[in-house]
């Protein structure tokens, strides 16, 4: 297929359609509204359903119902709205239902602002809802990657029977880049013999997260964590950019990684051995990959549009064996390439000293 110029939000929509997603339940919120607008038009064209729910709470529970009924289904929102979905997401994880949740992050806390941010990292990867559970979290850094990861998201959701979050931000959602879509619209979806579609010729199926006996609930938790272990083994993804010989490694994801990449370019021009490590899966965090990327590193710099969240996973993954510093902007402010370059350059001068 030829390339088309498309907004990230809309590209997510088209990618979902091509991945066989036919059901969207959501509630409007800036800066992700182009995604529902797109699907409101597009889904009926392919025999699918777009339904604006009465709230984010209703939306995530409609997703629960539809996922439990066997559909490829998604929802999307931004920060405030995602917080309202925490109970529902915990239920979906507990009931092991596959679905895709898009969070186009904006500044917080509270009503905050509508400009891009990455301050929902903890919520996405540690579990903003109650209980021990994890989403699989994918963080694209370009519109093309939004398309590619969206397809992947649905596959992973089905493979693990686990909710997958695509974590973007206002920049990615709003920006246009050329993209190529898979030519085919996926028609054949994996069989879901566990789904509730009327117990025709078989025993009843049950979608559930309640285990009143603690022994059973513990067992259930262990089963979930066995899945997470498998994901850690099989699904981590990351991009390395000039990390081979890098003495200063910048760790950044999403839009911020794009800025960091430009800063690395700038640093390389100045003869600084800088590199970029970009986790693509935020959960499971690419632990092995970051250790490889930092093989030659003396300093690590986490750059985020937050007050410092992913930095904890960076430190833990490296077992704190390298000094990890932080540079962040928040509330909708975006780091400039130069500011990141300045941080790199300062660290390069430090060598292996504790930051």
């Amino acid at each position: 297929m030829a390339k088309v110029l498309m907004k990230g939000n809309e590209a997510l929509g088209e990618a979902a359609v091509r991945a066989g997603c036919r059901f969207f339940f959501g509630y409007p919120i800036t800066p992700q509204s182009e995604l529902p607008h797109y699907l409101a038009q597009r889904l009926p064209e392919v025999g699918g359903l777009f339904l604006q729910a009465e709230s984010e709470v209703a939306a995530i529970n409609m997703v629960y119902g539809a996922a439990g009924a066997g559909a490829r289904v998604m929802t999307s929102s931004s920060s405030v709205g995602i917080s309202l979905k925490m109970e529902g997401i915990s239920y979906i994880a507990g009931a092991e239902l596959p679905c895709v949740i898009v969070n186009v992050v904006r500044g917080g806390p509270g009503l905050g602002g509508i400009q891009p941010a990455q301050s929902d990292y903890f919520q996405a990867v540690k579990g903003g809802g109650h209980g021990d559970y994890h989403l699989l979290v994918l963080a694209p850094a370009s519109v093309q990657e939004m398309v590619d990861l969206m397809a992947k998201a649905f596959d992973l959701a089905d493979k693990y029977r686990n909710p997958v979050m695509v974590l973007a931000d206002g920049i990615l959602g709003q920006m246009m880049e050329p993209v190529e879509f898979p030519a085919e619209i996926l028609q054949e979806l994996p069989a879901k013999p566990w789904a509730t579609d009327g117990a025709r010729g078989r025993g009843p199926n049950l979608i559930n997260s309640l285990y009143l006996e603690p022994e059973k609930l513990e067992e259930h938790n262990h089963r979930l964590f066995e899945k997470y272990r498998q994901m850690q083994e099989q699904e981590t993804m990351a991009e390395n950019y000039h990390t081979d010989d890098a003495e200063v490694v910048v760790a950044a994801y999403g839009s911020t990684a794009r800025i960091a990449k430009a800063a690395v370019d700038m640093a390389r021009k100045e003869g600084i051995k800088a590199g970029l490590f970009r986790p693509v899966t935020l959960y499971p965090f690419p632990t092995e990959e970051i250790n490889q990327a930092c093989a030659k590193a003396k300093q690590v710099l986490a750059v985020e549009m937050s007050m410092g969240q992913m930095i904890e996973d960076v430190k833990l993954s490296l077992n704190c064996r390298l000094p990890v510093s932080f540079y962040g902007r928040v509330g909708g402010m975006v780091p400039s390439t130069r500011a990141v370059y300045n941080e790199i350059s300062a660290l390069a001068q430090k060598g292996g000293e504790q930051a």
Binding site: F23, F25, L49, L51, A53, E54, S55, V57, A58, A59, N61, M62, V63, Y64, G65, A66, A67, G68, A69, G70, A71, V73, E87, G88, Y91, A95, T196, D197, G198, A199, R200, G201, P204, N205, L206, I207, N208, S209, L210
Partner: protein, 249 residues
């Protein structure tokens, strides 16, 4: 001899966990009987709520989903939209439906969602130990209205059926009771009508069923039935509040 009354196919053989005399059990059976009679056992998906009936999935011999507290209508919507040809019902208590789930039920009704809701109004939170429900009567003592519900502080009980009947999308809305034989028969007819309304694609259907909670009312089952008759029915009049024409005819 032929058997004329026995446990319907759409119920499993499991012994229910409900307290002695709790009419949740009767309501379960009525729903199952209707499903049997309409031959829908393999074409029905049920949604159970959070409340005493949270374990209803152990009793209905059907595909079931357990929904978050108050969200059964949203979950049922998700299922119905994926399988429009199947019959989907939600079973909800009064705390579940009228309190935390008020938005979801209003919107399912407004959307004309083609689901059937079995709404069990026992004027209390059974599961969690007898707290006040939105349907608790004025003066009724509960663990969170220990001196009786006071309208000046806690407001007035909600008449759900009447409220939902104002919405265009609702096609069949009625209130029945199961405190005695005659009413059980009527309750079953109403449930059947609700399912038929759905089958005929007429829109949203809901049957509000007055039910007892002997345990949290602090009464014997028989006293509870009397209390329902004497106290609930006067505030919650029985009858049809909305019915699409020609349903089930």
């Amino acid at each position: 001899m032929i058997t004329i009354y026995e446990r319907p196919q759409s119920l499993t053989a499991n012994t229910m966990h409900y307290c002695p005399g709790c009419t949740h059990g009767i309501i379960h059976r009525l729903v199952a009987e209707v499903i049997d009679e309409l031959d829908l056992r393999e074409d029905t998906v049920g949604v159970c709520p959070v409340g005493c009936s949270v374990l209803a999935y152990n009793y209905f011999n059907l595909d079931m989903q357990q929904a978050a507290h108050g969200r059964a209508p949203a979950v049922a919507t998700g299922i119905k939209r994926v399988h429009p040809a199947k019959v989907v019902f939600a079973y909800q208590g009064d705390g579940d439906l009228a309190s935390i789930g008020a938005a979801e039920i209003v919107h399912a009704a407004a959307r004309g969602e083609k689901i059937s809701v079995i709404f069990v109004n026992n004027a209390i939170y059974g599961m969690t130990g007898g707290q006040m429900a939105p349907t608790t009567l004025i003066g009724q003592e509960t663990t969170t209205s220990p001196n009786g519900r006071d309208a000046a502080v806690q407001g007035y009980p909600i008449r759900v059926a009447e409220m939902l009947a104002t919405l265009e999308g609702s096609a069949y809305i009625s209130r029945v009771s199961v405190h005695n034989n005659v009413n059980v028969i009527k309750a079953k007819a109403a449930i059947k009508k609700a399912f038929q309304t759905q089958l005929e694609g007429k829109g949203f259907s809901l049957v509000e069923i007055l039910s007892t909670c002997p345990t949290n009312w602090g009464l014997t089952p028989l006293e509870a039935a009397k209390w329902l008759e004497n106290n609930m029915i006067p505030y919650y009049p029985l009858g049809e509040f909305k019915a699409a024409k020609e349903v089930g005819s």
